[in-house]
């Protein structure tokens, strides 16, 4: 019994000698919401196209439901695609668009009507069954594309940046709807996006891709809190990067010198004395003391810094700081009703502050250029 509904083994693909996928391995569980996240050109859409069967892989194996897909054309695969452009048939009504798949399976009459209308009800479009795609809004077209795909009850639904053409508010609403739809149907979703927020909020697991490789594969939490390399750390959310050097190694604890200061930190990775490392800290994990806060000895353990810019964002205030060591540091401060001193966050540009971070929430990675 194979627990993977989809398995990629050492899959590679090149366009005109330009590699787009390099030995990609990927395993997807049945019923999972999996997101391929990466910048444009990283190969995420190519994986979808290989799974759908629009293009053959150059090397490696692609299994769907344990079955090798090599010789199976797209029309015989139990996967359906929601295209970025939706690709609705402009000459057919909404009903006929959705009925396209079932009709090819020789479903007729009452049964056809029931299936199509159920799919349209699911995306709340049953009133618009008689319209043409050209008469619908972007969000409605998106739903038709969804209905047209799920009506076939595929094992896996492939979604190629389906929300990218929608405006911010609609996109938020559709994210929620998609997630609910996926739970209700129990179909495996493979979702492609370059929007990290979308990836984190919707997925069970995320594969972060770069230059044809999967850089990290894990839950949104793992990806965000424990990035495995600098690319993932930088691509998913904002992060501060402080260069340091290991001075005392006593795994799992290390003394790391950051400029003129030494901090004792924990890491599951193994470093040697003298190794250069990157200390990665999320802006929201940075804590700030203002000049009149804390005692002198408390302050001695903190990093002095200067406020360079104050960006008011409504629910947060973002600060761009310059440490005395010269490194830049960005922070996000939440309005906090319990903390009177920080409550109004009325930082001034040029103000002197003292910072540190919630220790052990940082990530330590070997140095990369």
């Amino acid at each position: 019994m194979n627990e993977w509904v989809i398995e990629l083994r050492n899959v590679s693909k090149a366009y005109a000698a330009h590699p787009v996928l390099r030995n990609v391995n990927l395993q997807v569980r049945a019923g999972e919401f999996l997101t391929l996240l990466g910048p444009s050109g990283c190969g995420k859409t190519t994986i979808l196209r290989l799974l759908a069967g629009f293009e053959p892989a150059d090397g490696g194996e692609i299994l769907i439901g344990g079955q090798d897909m090599r010789t199976l054309p797209p029309e015989q695969r139990q996967v359906n695609t929601v295209f970025q452009s939706y690709a609705l048939f402009p000459h057919l009504t909404v009903f006929e668009n959705v009925a396209f798949g079932p009709r090819l399976k020789r479903i007729r009459g009452e049964a056809l009507r029931d299936q199509v209308m159920e799919a349209l009800r699911m995306v709340k479009l049953e009133d618009l069954a008689g319209r043409r795609p050209g008469q619908l809004s972007g969000g409605q077209q998106q739903r038709v594309a969804m209905a047209r795909a799920v009506v076939n009850r595929p094992r896996v639904l492939l979604l190629d940046e389906p929300l990218s053409a929608l405006d911010y508010k609609l996109r938020k609403a559709m994210q929620l709807e998609l997630k609910q739809l996926q739970r209700r149907l129990g179909i495996t979703f493979i979702f492609v996006t370059h929007d990290q927020e979308e990836a984190l909020s919707m997925s069970d697991r995320v594969a972060v891709m770069n230059a044809g490789r999967i850089e990290q594969f894990g839950t949104p939490r793992q990806i965000y809190e424990a990035p495995e390399n600098l690319f993932v750390a930088r691509f998913v959310g904002e992060i501060n990067n402080l260069p340091g050097r290991v001075v005392v190694a006593a795994p799992p604890r290390y003394d790391i010198r950051l400029h003129d200061r030494v901090v004792n930190l924990k890491s599951s990775r193994v470093f040697g004395i003298g190794d250069r490392v990157n200390l990665l800290i999320r802006p929201e994990d940075v804590r700030i003391w203002r000049e009149w806060e804390g005692s002198a000895e408390e302050r001695a353990a903190l990093f002095p810094a200067m406020v360079e810019e104050v960006i008011y964002k409504g629910s947060t205030v973002d600060l761009a700081l310059r440490l005395d060591s010269g490194d830049a540091l960005s922070t996000t401060q939440f309005f906090n009703e319990d903390d009177q001193a920080l409550m109004n966050l009325d930082f001034r540009e040029g103000e002197r502050v003292f910072v540190d971070w919630v220790h052990d929430w940082e990530t330590i990675l070997p140095h990369e250029e």
Binding site: A52, G53, F54, P73, P74, E75, Q76, V79, N80, T81, F83, S85, A87, L88, F89, P90, H91, F100, G101, L104, K105, G134, R148, A149, N152
Partner: protein
């Protein structure tokens, strides 16, 4: 401001006068009640009535319509499929074929007429209906290909992938998606071919024989003895028919685009 406006108007009047005055004169004189004179002698339907009473002329018109309809139909079938093939598949010699289609469009009619004549003669085909039909199909095909190709190139390529993704075979994709979407361009291509075929003189002159007379050649031979009001009337009728066809073709293309 004012002199410039006057110049603009004069310029437009000259251009449109140059383009359309001859046609207007022809139509007006087709109603002139005088056999040989350019002098205006009042309105009459005589010339139109004479035309409809002339069995030879009617036969030629019928032949022309027959050739136009048949050649347009065959050319549309071949041309539309060629356009689909050029869009959809990669094959050996594709750039060459695409180039040849344009060469065929640009070839002077007289060259094509003589070339076809030599071909038919060397195959010892008797000149007449069949040779004429073959020739008209030949020069119509590129126009259909270009019309259909320009529409098909505007397609979202994902449409075809979507059809396959939903379970359609290659044949089902062409029948249910490609052909319905191409219908307006196919119809426009047919009408264009029909019109081209209806008024072709040059190629037809070389490839038809005495057994099969078509309207443009008939007019040509009538005009050699002097332009009679009947010819005016005939040309006016052909112009009317052509305009209607072009109008329908344009409407079809517009409707397909929206």
């Amino acid at each position: 401001m004012k002199p410039r406006g006057a110049i603009q108007i004069a310029y437009l009047v000259l251009i449109y006068g140059f383009l359309y005055l001859p046609i207007l004169v022809l139509i007006v004189y087709s109603f002139n009640d005088a056999k040989y004179s350019l002098e205006w002698r009042g309105v009459t339907w005589t010339w139109y009535r004479n035309l409809l009473d002339d069995p030879d002329l009617l036969q030629a018109a019928l032949n022309s319509v027959l050739i136009a309809a048949l050649s347009a139909t065959v050319a549309t079938g071949i041309g539309a499929l060629a356009a689909v093939a050029l869009y959809r598949y990669e094959f050996f010699g594709k750039p060459l074929l695409q180039g040849l289609i344009f060469v065929l469009m640009m070839t002077p009619d007289i060259v094509m007429g003589i070339a076809l004549l030599i071909l038919f003669a060397s195959l010892s085909l008797p000149l007449g209906f069949w040779t004429l039909l073959l020739a008209h199909i030949t020069f119509n095909i590129p126009f259909v290909v270009v019309t259909v190709l320009s529409r098909i190139s505007g397609f979202d390529r994902h449409l075809l992938e979507a059809a396959k993704d939903l379970g359609a075979t290659e044949f089902q994709t062409v029948r249910r998606i490609v052909l319905p979407l191409l219908m307006p361009a196919v119809a426009a291509g047919w009408l264009l071919s029909f019109t081209l075929s209806m008024d072709d003189v040059m190629v037809s002159f070389f490839v038809t024989g005495p057994t099969f007379e078509i309207l443009p050649l008939k007019i040509y031979s009538m005009a050699r003895l002097g332009v009679t009001p009947e010819i005016n009337a005939l040309c006016a009728m052909m112009l009317g028919a052509t305009l209607i066809l072009i109008l329908v073709a344009q409407l079809l293309l517009l409707r397909g685009r929206s």
